[in-house]
């Protein structure tokens, strides 16, 4: 049970859930959360490989820390964009933001 | 060509700098101070004019060849030089540019809408034109060429008149299409020569194979020909002229169209002489069609500026025919015609601009009887029309004489047809003059005062230019000829 495959399966599930969420949710907050899921799926992968394949240099953990920092920054920027959008459109439904139409 | 490094005072760069300094100064003046902006523009333009006049005076046509050379290596790996020089072909063009810029700036003295931006763009445009004319390095010629094209779009789209967006867009697209031919041709020649120099004269010495010359010349001819309004790539010219504001029409028809013919001559015929000879029948054909076609279509126009636009097509056809003859007389005449037409058409647009400013129309049937109310302003237009007809003792007559003499000799049929075109041009110029200026006094325009002395100055300058070179063609032909005679030996 405590093998690499388990973690990979969980991470794949997590990634699929995130992808599904980002493609299907119409709520911008929901999409942002789904993005976090995607990132965390990647993090889980990094950690698992670090643990089972090459434990000595902790590169995987370092990258995970980077990604977490990045996720925090992304959430901050994303939320501020959502706020700005809400002020303009009084809604955070993605279907309301369709101005860039060819 | 012997002087390989910076010799003496870099007069050519200074001339270029007058426009760029003018541009920079204008940028730093607050936009409300329109008077100051105009004064700075005029000062910069007159400095350029003075320097060009001095250049013309100082050029030694007995010696001929390239003079006032400035040559510095700029990018070694590609072989790009800052290489400027003056010979008998670009000297008249430099003079033309400075005269037209000077008069154009003065003509637009009454402009009130976004003065700062307007003059800044005009100077950017003219910097490009000066650059093309003085540069002897293919890379720089192309760079300056595109610099001169870019400002046309905002100049027409912002300050223009009839259908300005359409005209601006059409003009820009056409000219950029021309660039799309020119750049590959330049790179092709550069690569064929080994890819280590853009210097025109070094490229000329290398000599290209006949096939390369044929390909490159055709591309250059089409690319530059679009700018010179060669039939059938001419339709941008009337539309663009009509849309453009007065000064831009003047610079555009007066100078920018000459860039095209100059490019064919300077790059095409200089680097690909055999290719040029191969395509000369095509050039003669298109030139002759342009002469007659332009005059005939001009007959049907009702907009004054359209008429002038088509007359430009006709006159530039003559330039094309002159170049196609590949003979001393033909090229002499073509270069002289470039100069004469530039001045003449600037006078045309300048006088139409005044009429349009006052009457707010340039539709011929709405005008009529104008010479009763504004005799002097009308006289300017009539004078330009006479120059356009090719009345003797005006500059264009000699140009026509030389071109037609050469044309009848080399391409008899085209030459005779071009002579017949003279009848058509008389017919259509006089028709316009009659309908616009003759006839009974038009009550609509009765209250309009005649042109003021101040505004008459640029028109008088242009008129005296036409007359001076009409009476003393030697002054210009000696200069042109000093370069053309060695040039022609290569065909």
């Amino acid at each position: 049970m405590n093998s690499l495959t388990t973690y990979l399966i969980i991470s794949a599930l997590l990634f699929s859930l995130g992808l599904l969420g980002i493609l299907q949710r119409r709520n911008l907050i929901g999409m942002l959360i789904s993005v976090e899921l995607l990132l965390n799926a990647a993090n889980l992968n990094f950690m698992a490989y670090n643990r089972f394949v090459s434990p000595d240099p902790v590169t995987g953990q370092v990258i995970t820390l980077f990604v977490m920092g990045l996720a925090a920054a992304e959430a901050a920027i994303g939320l501020s964009i959502i706020l700005a959008l809400y002020r303009k459109m009084h809604s955070i439904n993605i279907e309301a933001a369709q101005k860039m139409k060819g | 060509m012997t002087a390989m490094n910076m010799a003496g005072f870099p007069i050519l760069t200074t001339i270029l700098m007058t426009t760029i300094v003018g541009l920079l100064v204008i940028i730093f003046i607050p936009p409300e101070k329109t008077k100051l902006i105009k004064q700075v523009s005029l000062a910069s333009a007159s400095t350029g004019l003075a320097l060009c006049l001095w250049l013309y005076h100082a050029y030694d046509f007995h010696k001929g060849g390239l003079q006032f050379v400035e040559r510095v290596l700029w990018v070694k790996s590609l072989g790009i030089y800052w290489f400027n020089g003056i010979d008998g072909i670009n000297l008249p063009m430099m003079l033309l540019t400075s005269v037209v810029l000077f008069t154009a700036v003065w003509t637009m003295w009454e402009l009130e809408n976004r003065v700062k931006e307007f003059y800044a763009l005009v100077f950017l445009l003219v910097a490009g034109v000066y650059g093309v004319f003085m540069s002897m390095d293919l890379f720089w010629i192309f760079v300056w060429y595109d610099v001169s094209l870019f400002p046309m779009y905002p100049l027409i789209a912002i300050w223009g008149g009839t259908r300005k967006e359409y005209g601006a867009m059409k003009l820009t697209l056409y000219l950029l299409a021309g660039s799309a031919f020119i750049l590959p041709a330049i790179l092709f020649l550069w690569a064929k020569a080994g890819g280590h120099t853009f210097d025109l004269f070094m490229l000329q010495k290398i000599g290209f194979s006949l096939f390369d010359q044929k390909v490159a010349f055709l591309m250059l001819y089409l690319g530059f020909g679009i700018l010179a309004a060669v039939w059938p790539f001419h339709t941008w010219s009337p539309v663009g002229h009509v849309a453009a504001p007065t000064a831009v029409s003047m610079i555009h028809a007066g100078v920018l169209m000459k860039l095209g013919a100059y490019g064919v001559l300077r790059i095409g015929m200089m680097l690909c002489p055999q290719g040029a000879v191969y395509w000369s029948h095509l050039m003669a054909l298109l030139g002759t069609i342009g002469i007659i076609y332009g005059a005939l279509v001009g007959l049907a126009q009702t907009d004054l500026k359209y008429v002038i636009g088509y007359s430009s097509v006709s006159h530039m056809g003559l330039v094309g025919l002159g170049l196609a003859t590949m003979s001393v007389n033909g090229i002499n005449g073509a270069v002289f015609q470039m100069f004469a037409h530039g001045i003449m058409t600037a006078l045309f647009f300048s006088s139409v601009g005044f009429i349009y400013d006052r009457t707010h129309t340039k539709i011929i049937p709405e005008l009529g009887g104008l010479s009763k109310t504004m005799p002097i302003a009308s006289a300017f237009f009539i004078f330009a029309a006479l120059a356009g007809i090719g009345v003797p003792l005006m500059a264009s007559f000699w140009a026509e004489l030389l071109v037609l003499t050469a044309a009848v000799k080399v391409f008899p049929v085209a030459g005779i047809l071009a002579c017949v075109g003279m009848i058509l041009s008389a017919l259509f110029m006089l028709r316009v003059v009659q309908r616009t200026f003759y006839g009974d006094k038009n009550p609509k325009w009765e209250h309009i005062p005649d042109i003021s002395r101040f505004l008459a100055v640029p028109r008088v300058v242009l008129m005296s230019c036409i007359l001076f070179f009409g009476l003393f063609p030697k002054v210009m032909l000696d200069v042109i000829q000093s370069t053309v005679i060695p040039f022609v030996t290569r065909f």
């Binding site: - | 007389n329 003797p392 030389l402 037609l404 003499t405 009848i423 058509l424 017919l427 006089l430």
Partner: protein, 658 residues
């Protein structure tokens, strides 16, 4: 510059020919708003010019031909020279032009008085005089062509002087364009010569033609092309219709342009390079035919019009036809002599007509007659003198020159030209006396109503007649009448004078920068014809032709109880034909409208709009459309884009894995 002041001949030439230009410049630049000053400047300068011309004629009367030349510019092997060529022909013509222009300008002081365009009028008059004088003494054909064009330009302004009138500006335009048609031929001929012969100097050209220095084919083609210029400028068939229309200009302009100067320029050019033309028999034959057709056609037109000036205009065309006939059949002296006498009496006729028109404000000869035209005694007598000269009645000048022409024609192998000439003489006398009798003996006498009115305001009129205005007009007219009386007797002097330059055998001296005497000789013996004294029979025939014409005119218009309709009124079709100028104008109008305006112009305009612009716009529309085609990918739906991205990435993964 030094040479200019050392050499009095050169000085007089330069001064005389260029002073009018100076006066034009001064008038246009400075004195436009001061009509009085402008007119005086112009008249003074033309008077000085005339004096210069006369003194040159006197001084060089027995001197060899003089040539001054300077290189104006050169391009390749093309040397364009500027210079003067003073030989008897150019001196004679210079004098004629100077004197006539001077008289016309003096006359205009009265005629144009009070016109708003007074200054402009004198500026253009000066321009015209300048161009004409320079054309006359031109040393090379190219210079001649240049001033020939300037003459055309000046005439365009003068004919269209009343530019408010649509018909006037139309006439000016027509004159210019029709002249241009001929000039293009002229120009092509010059270019051909320039290419093949390389020199356009007048003496050189004549010499080369005489000594067979030119191939016959080239000679024929180029001379025919150059003759096109004569056709245009001298209003020969088929380009003759601009001249009658040109009567829209002020009457003094008609007198100047259509008597001695502009239209005579064509004939002058013909005689200028007469040896050149005469070396090509084909060209001479064509010219003879064209001259004859012109002469007859325009005489018939003159028979039906009631417009005073039109009659003289048609008559000018027909007299020019006579001159071309004379020259074309080898009568150099006869042609030039008729040119000289015609200049005098035609100017006289126009100027006297101008007095009538000024007085009665109409051009219709019937109205002038009814309103008492004959009461103006001086003009009436002068006009009669002019008409007699025109009809070739002894001892007026026209008699001598017409006799000379008929003699030349009689010496042609085919007698048809002589017969045509005689017939033309009858017609000439007929239409001129038709006009005279219309004014002198109007139908139903002078209208009484007008008479009374005339009596009431007689005092005012008296003043008018003897005032300044009347005399400025009457004096030139009387001078011209005197000239017409005596000029004929100078025939022999003139003949000797003219033959000197063209007949002296000897080698041509190569032209140098300075005065070089040039003598050309004519191989074609044509020039001798005028020498042969006309036989008495020819003289009798010629005189009786003129008298016959006058007699017919008397029978129809003069005698008591005459119908005053003219025999042509019994043939309405012919009347219409003559009145519409043989439908030449209608033909041209139609041709221009259908071929140029409706045909080529509209075709090309449509091509521009539809094909070229349409094609380019089509490309733009296509580009835009194809862009639009793919723009559905840019739906604006964030998640749709994401889905595409994921699918794309999935496809890439699949591609790389498999």
């Amino acid at each position: 510059m030094g040479a200019l002041f050392r050499d009095p001949v050169l000085f007089a030439t330069v001064l005389g020919t260029n002073l009018p230009f100076l006066s034009m410049a001064v008038i246009l630049l400075f004195t436009r708003s001061k009509p009085f000053v402008s007119s005086r400047i112009s008249v003074c300068s033309i008077a000085v010019s005339a004096v210069c011309a006369v003194s040159l004629l006197v001084r060089l009367f027995s001197a060899p031909a003089l040539q001054y030349q300077t290189l104006w510019f050169s391009s390749d092997k093309l040397n364009i020279t500027f210079g003067y060529y003073l030989d008897p022909l150019s001196l004679l013509m210079l004098t004629i032009v100077g004197i006539i222009a001077c008289l016309v300008q003096i006359y205009s002081l009265g005629y144009m008085a009070g016109d708003p365009g007074y200054s402009r009028y004198y500026a253009f008059q000066s321009l015209f005089a300048w161009a004409m004088m320079n054309m006359v003494i031109a040393g090379s054909m190219l210079q001649l062509f240049i001033f020939w064009e300037m003459v055309g330009l000046a005439s365009y302004f003068l004919i269209g002087f009343y530019y408010e009138k649509w018909s006037a500006s139309q006439a000016g335009k027509k004159a210019f364009v029709m002249n241009r048609v001929g000039d293009v031929g002229f120009f092509l001929g010059l270019i051909l010569l320039l290419i093949a012969f390389g020199n356009l100097g007048i003496p050189e050209l004549n010499h080369a033609a005489v000594t067979h220095g030119l191939p016959q084919g080239l000679l024929t083609v180029s001379s025919l092309l150059i003759f096109c210029g004569v056709i245009g400028k001298s209003a020969q068939f088929p380009l003759l219709t601009w001249l009658p229309d040109a009567m829209e200009g002020p009457t003094p302009v008609s007198a100047l342009l259509h008597s001695a100067t502009m239209v005579a320029a064509g004939v002058y050019m013909f005689s200028r390079i007469f040896p050149f033309f005469s070396a090509s028999p084909d060209t001479m034959a064509v010219a003879l035919a064209i001259g004859t057709v012109t002469m007859l056609l325009s005489s018939t037109m003159a028979m039906v019009t009631y417009d005073l000036k039109q009659v003289w205009a048609y008559s000018t065309v027909s007299q020019l036809g006579y001159m071309v006939m004379a020259l074309a059949s080898g009568g150099y002296v006869a042609g030039v002599f008729h040119l000289t006498t015609h200049a005098g009496f035609k100017a006289l006729l126009f100027l006297t007509s101008g007095i009538f028109i000024h007085e009665f404000h109409t051009n219709d000869m019937r109205i002038i007659g009814k309103k008492g035209g004959r009461k103006l005694k001086i003009p009436m007598v002068c006009m009669a003198i002019g008409a007699l000269a025109l009809s070739g009645v002894f001892p007026f000048s026209g008699f001598f020159s017409k006799e000379a022409i008929l003699t030349v024609l009689a010496s042609q192998p085919s007698k048809i030209w002589y017969a045509a000439g005689l017939f033309g003489a009858v017609l000439t006398a007929y239409y001129s006396f038709r006009l005279i009798f219309h004014i002198l003996l109007p139908k139903g006498g002078i209208e009484e109503a007008h008479h009374e009115e005339h009596g009431a305001s007689s005092h005012e009129h008296e003043e008018g007649h003897h005032g300044y205005i009347f005399w400025t007009m009457a004096v030139p007219v009387m001078i011209l009448a005197g000239v017409s009386l005596v000029l004929g007797f100078t025939e022999h002097t003139l003949e000797h004078f003219l033959m000197r330059s063209i007949q002296v055998p000897g080698e041509l001296v190569a032209p140098a920068a300075h005065a070089v005497s040039v003598a050309a000789h004519v191989a074609a013996g044509g020039a001798h014809h005028a020498h042969e004294a006309g036989s008495p029979l020819l003289t009798i025939l010629g005189v009786s032709a003129g008298l016959l014409g006058i007699a017919i005119a008397w029978f129809e218009y003069g005698r008591k109880g005459a119908s005053r309709n003219g025999f042509l009124s019994y043939f309405p079709a012919i009347w219409k034909l003559f009145d519409c100028r043989w439908f030449l104008d209608i033909f041209y109008r139609k041709g221009l409208d259908t071929l140029v305006y409706a045909g080529l112009t509209s075709l090309f305009t449509k091509n521009d709009r539809r094909v070229i612009d349409g094609g380019i716009d089509g490309i733009c529309v296509f580009t835009e459309g194809s862009g639009r085609l793919f723009s559905f990918l840019q739906s604006g739906m964030l998640q749709f884009n994401l889905l595409l991205m994921v699918l794309g990435a999935g496809a890439a993964v699949l591609y790389f894995v498999i």
